[in-house]
């Protein structure tokens, strides 16, 4: 009896050892790190150390291919010439593409459809009454168009005149009206897909007499549905989630700030814009010179837009974000860094 029992015991010991080895191989990695060499911040400012990689699109300073800082204050006035009757002609070239894969948030890559290589496309700016002529080239693999909000002839509406892929061309032309801030976007079906992938931009029509001087900027409120489930994974002002959180928008104490805000979020019915430590005068669609509200909160539906004007009395860091907190916690939040007025600032 003794020998077989011993043999069996040995067989079982072997089996147990094999099982233990298997378990070790399959076990999750240990939480303790050998080498603690990176840190990151929590919301409350606590410092956390890690031996691994930091996943922090919020507070860790990072950049991706698209630069929201450059976009923020970049206005395109076009190639300017004068017609015999004295009208100013502004000519623009906009090229559509749909094959780019771009890093839209740190480490996240997404197939963006672009006007002139960026999301949003270039901010087109003209003065009321100018003749705007846009040479549109479709270098994508699908049909695209340009559909501008505003007043124009039916044939330039960019809906029933699809422009073919692989170099198709179309020239749009109209008088710049009405005064205000308007979106433009592709209007090919399925429309939601073409917009959600990034085919949109901002078109500003200035009044002839101009607006009071201000620090002007454009914020397109948009979202990215990176896994195509009909819900946005990321939200932002100007595409890159949390960008203005770690790259605060620098403005100056006492100086008038004018923000052209356009809501291009798809899938979610509304978006909104809340400013901290201040209120703004709000001009819906920018079409009127009298503000409709003095508030710190406006709600915007799809392509709803307006102009916000404010100036800060006190220096410091002020948050601005969607008060639909889901959006702000998925990227649509940023910081105004108000510098003290004085010669040393700048």
């Amino acid at each position: 009896m003794a020998r077989p029992a011993a043999g069996r015991a040995m067989a079982m010991a072997l089996a147990a050892a094999a099982a233990a080895a298997l378990l070790l191989a399959l076990a999750p990695p240990p939480g303790q790190a050998q080498q603690e060499d990176r840190t990151f911040l929590t919301h409350s400012g606590a410092v956390v150390r890690t031996s691994g990689e930091v996943l922090d699109p919020m507070y860790a300073v990072s950049t991706v291919e698209f630069d929201p800082d450059a976009y923020l204050r970049e206005f395109h006035y076009g190639t300017v010439s004068e017609l015999p009757d004295g009208t100013v002609l502004r000519e623009f070239t906009i090229v559509a593409e749909d094959g780019l894969v771009m890093e839209v948030a740190p480490g996240v890559f997404y197939n963006v459809w672009t006007f002139n290589g960026t999301v949003p496309g270039p901010t087109i700016r003209a003065t009321e009454g100018d003749l705007v002529r846009i040479h549109f080239v479709n270098n994508g693999s699908k049909e695209h168009t340009l559909h501008f909000h505003g007043i124009h002839e039916a044939r330039f509406d960019g809906v029933f005149e699809p422009v073919g892929p692989g170099g198709g061309r179309f020239t749009y032309e109209w008088r710049a009206e009405p005064v205000g801030v308007h979106p433009y976007h592709c209007h090919v079906m399925p429309l939601e897909e073409h917009i959600a992938h990034g085919l949109y931009g901002v078109y500003i029509v200035d009044p002839k007499e101009g607006r009071p001087p201000a620090d002007e900027m454009v914020m397109v409120l948009n979202g990215l549905d990176t896994d195509f489930d009909g819900e946005n994974n990321f939200y932002a002002a100007n595409t890159v989630p949390f960008h203005y959180q770690h790259h605060p928008v620098r403005i100056q104490q006492g100086e008038l700030v004018r923000v052209y805000v356009v809501n291009m979020v798809e899938f979610d019915p509304v978006n909104n814009f809340h400013l901290h430590g201040n209120l703004y005068h709000y001009y819906p669609t920018g079409t009127d010179t009298v503000p409709s509200a003095y508030t710190d909160m406006v709600t915007l539906s799809q392509t709803e837009r307006g102009i916000m004007e404010f100036s800060y009395d006190y220096p410091g860091r002020y948050l601005f974000h969607a008060h639909k907190v889901e959006f702000s916690e998925k990227g649509w939040s940023g910081v105004f860094l108000v510098g003290e007025s004085g010669p040393e600032y700048g």
Partner: protein
């Protein structure tokens, strides 16, 4: 020693080896052509990434998730979120995951006890994967106190009930053959039930049916993981048992001796109790204390019957006159103590993969032991003094039926 045939034999062997290798070489060549580096022979379809969150721990001010790449392509973990809200986090050792590689995602988060949380992981292609925990509970600290508590639970569930069950040995000893056939069949019935029970558990775990908390990703083959693990365990025990029986000189018919049979039943039941320990440890680890307490009571009652299974072969006429108490205790420990080990594993390093594999090994072991016992019953029925030639006879059928019914009745208490 000059052996003229030796060279020829060697050549013949080499030729046979080569013949065996040739088809294999072709397969390797084809695989290299189709899927090797630089090959563009197969570019069909888009491989979709898949990441599964295997385990979520709530520690002091932090949520920890073990994530594994269970898809066909390497992925990088890019973003972590809690309840679909992006959080600053870290991934250790790094976010790049090859196939089946795992990493630990640490998310500093002031979680509240007993509230549900969904942890999400977004990969580099923008796809988000998530897992929900119904009630957050602090993870077990791997210290002596917790280890002691889990060990105590293991003793309640495994060791004590089995030992109590073994006390039926004197009652069964010296029984007439027909009665013993009944009790051995009862044992087989118990074992068949336990095997089916463990198989169901392993299958639901492996095919992700348990889903929310503990499921295993389909990338591991689902039911086939269970089938293969159980078959390997069955074959290994079958081979080992047969070899031992032959070596012991046994009865010559490959049947195990009573002591060997008792030992094998103990080992099989031990593997089963490991699974029960895992269930209890995991329930405690996941903060489901109420479920844990229920499991302890139910398994304890249930496992008393396992003692009968071990005692039955020893009670037979072929068995030893007297079984040393120490040997009995050792058998009981072999069957019961793995519950302690299981509780530790379930509580401290639960992973659905290891749980599914261990449960499957238990399935194979239990069915193998049931097989051994049933063969024994058949031999007794046909042998001298046996109830008759037919198998199963009335006693065996009644025993099987009673065994399964008892197990069912005690199991639904859990």
């Amino acid at each position: 020693m000059a052996d003229p045939g030796a060279g020829r034999r060697q050549r013949g062997r080499a030729r046979a080896a080569a013949a065996g290798l040739v088809p294999f070489a072709f397969v390797v060549a084809m695989a290299a052509y189709v899927a090797g580096p630089g090959s563009e022979a197969i570019g069909l379809g888009v491989p979709l990434p898949d990441v599964s969150i295997e385990r979520i721990d709530f520690v002091d001010g932090e949520i920890r998730a073990v994530v594994r790449n269970t898809g066909p392509v390497p992925v990088s973990v890019a973003v972590a979120d809690v309840n679909d809200r992006i959080q600053p986090a870290a991934v250790e050792p790094d976010g790049r995951l090859e196939r089946f590689e795992s990493a630990l995602v640490r998310i500093p988060f002031p979680w509240n006890e007993a509230e549900p949380y969904t942890v999400g992981i977004t990969t580099d292609d923008g796809t988000r994967f998530e897992r929900r925990v119904d009630a957050a509970a602090p993870s077990l600290e791997p210290d002596a106190g917790t280890a002691g508590l889990l060990a105590t639970l293991g003793v309640y569930v495994g060791v004590i009930p089995v030992m109590v069950g073994l006390l039926w040995l004197p009652f069964m000893r010296g029984m007439r053959s027909r009665r013993l056939v009944f009790f051995l069949s009862l044992t087989a019935g118990l074992l068949l039930f336990l095997g089916a029970d463990a198989a169901e558990e392993a299958l639901s775990l492996a095919s992700g049916v348990t889903g929310e908390e503990n499921g295993l990703d389909a990338g591991f083959g689902g039911a086939m993981l269970v089938v293969v693990s159980a078959s390997l365990s069955f074959l290994a025990l079958h081979w080992a048992g047969g070899m031992l029986a032959r070596r012991a000189g046994g009865s010559g018919n490959g049947r195990a001796s009573p002591m060997a049979a008792a030992l094998m039943i103990s080992a099989g039941i031990g593997l089963h109790n490991l699974g029960e320990g895992l269930a209890i440890g995991a329930a405690v680890g996941l903060g489901e204390a109420a479920l844990g307490a229920f499991l302890v009571l139910g398994f304890a009652l249930h496992n008393t019957t396992e003692g009968i299974a071990i005692a039955a072969p020893l009670a037979g006429s072929g068995g030893p006159r007297r079984t040393p108490v120490l040997a009995l205790a050792a058998l009981g420990l072999l069957a019961g103590a793995p519950a302690i080990l299981g509780a530790w594993m379930g509580g401290f390093l639960y992973s659905p993969l290891s749980a599914a594999v261990f449960l499957s090994i238990g399935v194979g072991a239990i069915f193998q032991v049931a097989w051994v016992v049933l063969r024994w019953v058949r031999d007794m029925e046909r042998g001298p003094g046996g109830p008759g030639a037919g198998f199963p006879g009335a006693a065996a059928a009644a025993g099987l039926a009673a065994g399964m019914s008892i197990m069912y009745a005690t199991s639904i208490i859990v």
